[in-house]
């Protein structure tokens, strides 16, 4: 079923990615995976890693001691998105601001640390300060605490469409008057247990193991980071719009092409941003479906390798990277389709209106 309700606008973007912390669009500079040094690996292992930075250098006053990196990045990305949107939170009713965060694995680093403390000291000797920071919802609540945001505070996940799910839930809150503004975040942090899982399951690209960054011959290069969007139900005066979400549809199965065509109605976007997670088979079917829907003349932005390695939470990065690569020279019309598919015929689609 399609949600075609009053539109909401994306007015701010922030991110912490392998490009570092950034406000606004992400430049399309090429990026190579870097060698993992945070834990011992059986040989050189590579991934798209967030470079170390001091959060307080980016967000003055932010305190991040003993937080999971995922919580730290959520704080920084949300601050950058709010700044990018030109919002002065002192002029906003903070009880009307929602935070919706999507994550596949939550605070996996501190979860590892908690297990390690249990292994070392027994279950009766675990660390009380670490425990609450292991919750998947910890980053969401830290964002609320730091910015004093007292609206709905939600942590969501979906195997393939976590980021899209967060955007759709946030849009729903805005449309139903349960919030006036929403900070939407999605991301994950790489940790030893996660990387090892990918490796043992033979999901990694050869580029993760070899110094020569071969184009992906199957498998994926894990990535990490958090992307943030500011979404608003009504546009403030002189507010920039990155895109308006006019309708959406998502499903865990069925007939994607039919469902998406139904959502589009008479709209025929010629610019399609594809999202997709790291599974090797996830990329090309999405682009193929995009061409099936919009025809060969459409400009299809394939899922970017930087965000492919974020399991299900890469959607916001895919959207930001797609908007960043919007062609300046070719006419693409005002409408765009943001599209993701899954192996089981699941899909998430949003009809966007570009400025």
């Amino acid at each position: 079923m399609t949600s075609r309700l009053p539109s909401v606008t994306i007015t701010g973007i922030g991110s912490v990615s392998p490009h570092g912390p950034l406000a606004g669009l992400i430049p399309s500079a090429p990026l190579e995976p870097t060698v993992i040094s945070a834990w011992t690996t059986p040989g050189p292992r590579r991934a798209f890693l967030v470079p170390p930075f001091r959060p307080a250098d980016v967000v003055p006053g932010v305190k991040t001691r003993r937080l999971d990196r995922l919580s730290v990045w959520a704080l920084v990305a949300s601050s950058l998105a709010i700044k990018d949107a030109g919002i002065d939170l002192n002029q906003v009713d903070r009880s009307r601001v929602a935070v919706v965060f999507a994550t596949a694995f939550g605070c996996v680093e501190l979860t590892e640390a908690f297990y390690l403390s249990a292994a070392a000291n027994g279950w009766n000797g675990t660390d009380p300060i670490t425990f609450p920071e292991t919750l998947a919802s910890a980053p969401t609540s830290h964002v609320a605490m730091f910015h004093q945001l007292r609206g709905p505070n939600i942590t969501v996940s979906n195997k393939y469409f976590s980021g899209e799910s967060a955007m759709i839930q946030a849009a729903s809150l805005l449309r139903h008057g349960q919030a006036d503004l929403a900070i939407v975040l999605a991301g994950d942090a790489l940790a030893r247990t996660l990387y090892s899982w990918y490796e043992e399951a033979n999901l990694l690209s050869p580029a993760c193991l070899n110094s020569d960054p071969v184009p992906e011959a199957g498998g994926f290069i894990p990535s990490e980071g958090v992307a943030a969007l500011v979404m608003e139900s009504s546009t403030r005066p002189s507010t920039r719009s990155y895109a308006r979400i006019n309708s959406s549809r998502w499903s865990s199965g069925g007939q994607p092409a039919g469902g998406i065509s139904q959502m589009l109605g008479s709209s025929m976007p010629s610019f399609i941003i594809c999202s997709g997670n790291g599974a090797p088979c996830a990329t090309s079917p999405t682009a193929a479906l995009a061409r099936e829907i919009a025809g060969d003349g459409a400009i299809v932005v394939e899922p970017k390798s930087l965000a492919q390695g974020l399991a299900g939470t890469g959607a916001l990065f895919h959207l930001i990277l797609g908007l960043s690569s919007k062609p300046g020279s070719q006419p693409i019309g005002k409408e765009a389709l943001f599209l993701a598919t899954a192996r089981d015929n699941g899909f998430a689609a949003m009809l966007l209106e570009l400025p």
């Binding site: 390690l116 292994a119 919802s137 609540s141 979906n158 195997k159 499903s251 865990s252």
Partner: protein, 416 residues
């Protein structure tokens, strides 16, 4: 049927396409499977809390409530299912049975399932020391696949072949209630014709150890809202509601168990574990839910409280009720049903929604067990002693959690 749902004292519900109703309730609790077993146990005053006897991990001797009599697991034998998934699938099956919905009617249903644990039940401490070796164990990779909390929603969807929009949420102890609120939003959006929503969490060394380390556990059966309360007990379970619009329920001649008249979500924005001392976030949430429901504090007949039994939660929560129900003609009847089978974390809000619906349907105000000296709060009638029998057209369920999340649901009887 639409008029049938409208109680004379309450503002009429005007749009069947915007009225959310509950047409199925599924429960797995320490009382067993089904709302009936829980109702029989609770109305008879039976507590499921008992000494742990090393059940959770060696050396833990606190008080817990366990789901012991799981049915034969043949139906749930997917090797990728964690215990969390099993609880979720069982509750969903019970909800489908209670609704009279067959699987074909649920083909395009939405699913919103909540859990704080996901597949942590399947993982032990050795994974942190040598993850590669852990994954190489027989079934290691399969068990790891259940780790993300999204898997709980997938387990329900894949088990029953449901292919509508699907997501999981994890919002600490408000999770189960928030899943229901988000499901209601999905129905208003028209994102799905019908939604299964609820929460599930089993007992697990990870969480028991965590709450133990925080010194949040009462070693004895808990005493929520008592001046001498010492902490919470952990339990386990799962509850799933089937939600749809009144228009859809009417079209398929479904039995309406209750109307979800109002819901709201807020955050304290105060502390990672402690609630805001005056309970302002929860009080705001109660106010917003009553505004959505177009009712006043005088209309609410009963509140199923979060009521964990921890000193900080219960005093803040009592303050929230004092604020939200100030000016009410009579003190508001409130109880904590965590005194019966403990705090089931991500399942708690969904189980308590089911209990609230059960209270409405049975016309029963369920007391808090072992409540000897209640917190002094003039606006509150702390229910204790015997079950009070009286008509209950409208009742509220309140949930809060670590990180300051609050969710309030208001249910109305499906029968005038």
């Amino acid at each position: 049927m639409f008029e049938f749902l409208t109680h004379s004292r309450l503002p009429p519900l005007t749009d069947p396409h915007k009225t959310i109703v509950v047409t199925g309730v599924g429960v797995v609790s320490p009382y067993g499977i089904g709302l009936d077993s829980m109702q029989a146990g609770m109305l008879s005053g039976k507590s499921c809390l008992e000494p742990a006897k090393d059940d959770v991990y060696p050396g833990f001797t606190g008080t817990i409530a366990q789901v012991r009599a799981l049915p034969p697991l043949e139906e749930y034998s997917n090797p990728q299912y964690s215990r969390t998934d099993q609880l979720a699938v069982m509750a969903a099956q019970d909800a489908m049975a209670s609704s009279g919905c067959d699987r074909s009617a649920l083909l395009d249903a939405g699913i919103v399932m909540a859990s704080t644990l996901g597949g942590l039940t399947e993982i032990d401490t050795s994974i942190a020391k040598d993850p590669a070796a852990w994954y190489r164990r027989p079934g290691g990779l399969l068990r790891a696949a259940s780790y993300p909390f999204a898997h709980v929603a997938d387990a329900v969807g894949e088990h029953f072949g449901i292919r509508g929009p699907r997501c999981a949420i994890s919002v600490a102890c408000a999770s189960g209630a928030m899943a229901i609120a988000l499901a209601a939003n999905m129905l208003l959006d028209g994102a799905a014709p019908i939604v299964l929503a609820g929460g599930c969490d089993p007992l697990c060394p990870f969480t028991v150890s965590g709450f133990n380390s925080l010194q949040a556990l009462d070693p004895n059966p808990c005493t929520p809202f008592d001046q001498n309360r010492k902490g919470l007990n952990l339990g386990e379970g799962s509850a799933v509601l089937i939600l749809e619009t009144l228009a859809a329920a009417t079209a398929r001649n479904a039995n309406v168990l209750a109307v979800l008249r109002g819901w709201a979500m807020t955050n304290d924005a105060f502390h990672p574990t402690a609630p805001q001392k005056e309970g302002s976030g929860l009080a705001d949430c109660i106010r917003l839910s009553m505004e959505m429901a177009e009712v006043t504090g005088d209309d609410i007949g009963y509140v199923n409280a979060h009521g964990t039994g921890t000193p900080l939660n219960d005093s803040a929560e009592a303050q929230a009720y004092e604020t939200a129900f100030r000016g009410r003609k009579l003190p508001i009847p409130i109880s904590s049903t965590k005194s019966y089978f403990g705090h089931c974390l991500g399942a708690a809000g969904a189980l308590e929604a089911a209990i609230t619906i059960m209270a409405i349907r049975a016309g029963a105000l369920i007391p808090t067990l072992r409540l000897a000296t209640p917190i002094e709060t003039p606006a509150v009638d702390w229910l204790r002693g015997e079950v009070k029998r009286q008509p209950l057209p409208l009742a509220m369920s309140a949930s809060s959690g670590f990180g300051g999340s609050n969710t309030v649901l208001i249910f109305e009887s499906g029968q005038a």
